[in-house]
Symmetry: C2
């Protein structure tokens, strides 16, 4: 439903012609990108810095649904989720490789849309597309994105540096991307039952936008730098707050106390969750795909971030014996369970 | 038909448990691999060297057929085809990321087999597995491999450096991997018609091995270094000699003359091609998947390589106006057409 009207068959360009065609308007922006697409491998040089590298696979029907995910947004999001991993190490994304597998169901115009979204992400985050692969599949679309970034050795932030007494911060708000997904799936069901139904997303713009067009929080890194706050541990929220807290606590060998009423949730997320008879907290803890940053800072850095509206303190790190706990409104301590998205668990 | 008998469901381990389980026995071997699997991104540092990076997607039913490709060989080959791209730039492969998408049809043991093959390749080529992604698909298996390597800036060999008068060399022999594929497909057909049929591959070991277990020719780089020969252009043969010659000539803005009777073809490739009523030269020119190196050297370097049995001079570079030509046994000049594997062309 989102494909352009013109249809050029993939077979009309051939593999090499297709890659050339799709990547023609990508310009190299980073001096570290020595050689991009066109040889056996790309060449990268981060002088005096360490290279960060991450990879994500996105499979149609598992990670995205093209009935409500426009192809351009898909390309954008596939790039962002990888940039977000680099940002979560306190690095600057600089290069990416895009592997794309498509069946004959897709036209050249459809792939152009995907690449148009990738290009918007590359422009916005100043990232160079330096390589990739384009192959055919028997069915569906598969995206494999690899992102590279750079950071000075002493500036990289791992998951493992949190210490008891550190404060736990989160950027933005949580649970919106998941509620956006539920709204899109509801509209899809209605559309399937009645193809003349026009999707009604009025009032849901914010949460639908959070699902379709996430951002990597490079601005938070800049804020922390400006405020001279160096996080002790950091991770991006792809699987939900509970799962990411667990990653930090396991890697750092700590526990944590997180306060229910401190977790930032947008009012639209709350009202939509109520519509779905869902606790908004469940969306925030286990929904995932917010791509906000979860990080810990030394207690003495609290004052430097006080009054900043982009980040919120939600709790503190404890020793590992105390476990991971959620403190509710009346002060009860509830063990935190992560039900984060799990690829192979049956739902 | 190649899966182990024990079957553990993927869902029993969960995503993070699965990655941890599969990658538990991979040891870090390169000092440039600062941090491997377990955080948002891996960390790599190639001091004073440039980083080479390449990515390949392999899709079940398109790039491999599990009825005759054992899972361990698949893992090995997926690694090798990427190492080969790094080698073709005159670089040393050092790190890799493996993205794997599988449906519930596959068990934990099946994935262990794939990783066992990847591990053999990593051990042999001293490459570190530093990251990746494991996701579920609705159908089939998808592999996305990213390989990184390093080389001194002045040692990297591109496709674009060939000059008229340079000699064209190829390593090993060509066409065997393709004939191996045809034999495997013939056995599969027989097996499909009669499941009690035992595959008979006697006498075809060499060509079947070339298809199932290719190598990246790191040894050729060592030979060239030892002989003090620095190639002017280089590429690995993944799509067939004709297609790779075209890549070098287009990138270098040259033509070439290649001599039919100089193209190295193994006797088993010749006899098997005859069985299939195929010209062995067609397998060599257009078969692909040999992963041999095609490279050009200055004419004065000829003497340094004379007598080396691992490499063969097959022709020379001409000016671009002369085009790409094949010279047959009676001296006739035939324009060279590449029918290299093309992902989207219908066969």
């Amino acid at each position: 439903m989102f494909e352009s009207t013109k249809r050029t068959e993939l077979s009309s360009l051939g593999e090499f012609g297709l890659i050339k065609h799709l990547t023609a308007h990508f310009e190299i922006k980073n001096p570290s990108s020595i050689l991009g697409i066109g040889d056996d491998a790309a060449i990268i040089q981060h002088k005096g810095k360490q290279t960060l590298i991450t990879q994500d696979l996105l499979i149609e029907g598992v990670h995205f649904d093209l009935t409500y995910m426009p192809l351009k947004h898909l390309g954008y999001k596939a790039a962002i989720v990888n940039f977000s991993d680099i940002v979560a190490m306190n690095g600057l994304p600089a290069q990416m490789l895009v592997g794309i597998g498509v069946s004959n169901r897709f036209s050249v115009e459809a792939l152009e849309e995907v690449y148009a979204g990738i290009r918007v992400a590359c422009e916005k985050y100043k990232v160079d597309l330096v390589g990739g692969d384009t192959v055919s599949t028997n069915k569906g679309m598969h995206l494999s994105v690899t992102a590279l970034g750079a950071a000075r050795k002493d500036k990289i932030v791992l998951r493992s540096g949190a210490k008891p007494g550190d404060l736990v911060f989160v950027s933005g708000d949580l649970g919106a991307a998941y509620m956006g997904l539920l709204v899109l799936e509801r509209e899809k069901k209605t559309f399937m039952a009645n193809p003349r139904h026009q999707p009604d997303l009025a009032g849901y713009d914010y949460i639908v936008g959070r699902q379709l067009r996430p951002e990597a929080r490079l601005d938070i890194l800049e804020l922390l730098k400006k405020k001279k706050v160096f996080p002790t541990a950091m991770i991006d929220i792809s699987d939900g707050l509970a799962s990411e807290l667990k990653h930090i606590c396991v890697a750092s060998n700590t526990g944590c106390n997180v306060y229910e009423d401190k977790i930032p949730i947008d009012p639209v997320t709350v009202t939509t969750a109520e519509e779905f008879s869902l606790n908004p907290l469940t969306a925030a803890l286990n929904g995932g795909e917010d791509y906000e940053l979860l990080f810990t800072v030394k207690a003495e850095d609290y004052d430097k971030l006080k009054g900043e509206t982009a980040v919120h303190v939600i709790g503190h790190i404890t020793d590992s014996a105390s476990g991971l706990n959620l403190i509710n409104g009346i002060g009860e301590q509830i063990p935190l369970k992560s039900q984060g998205w799990d690829a192979f668990k049956e739902s």
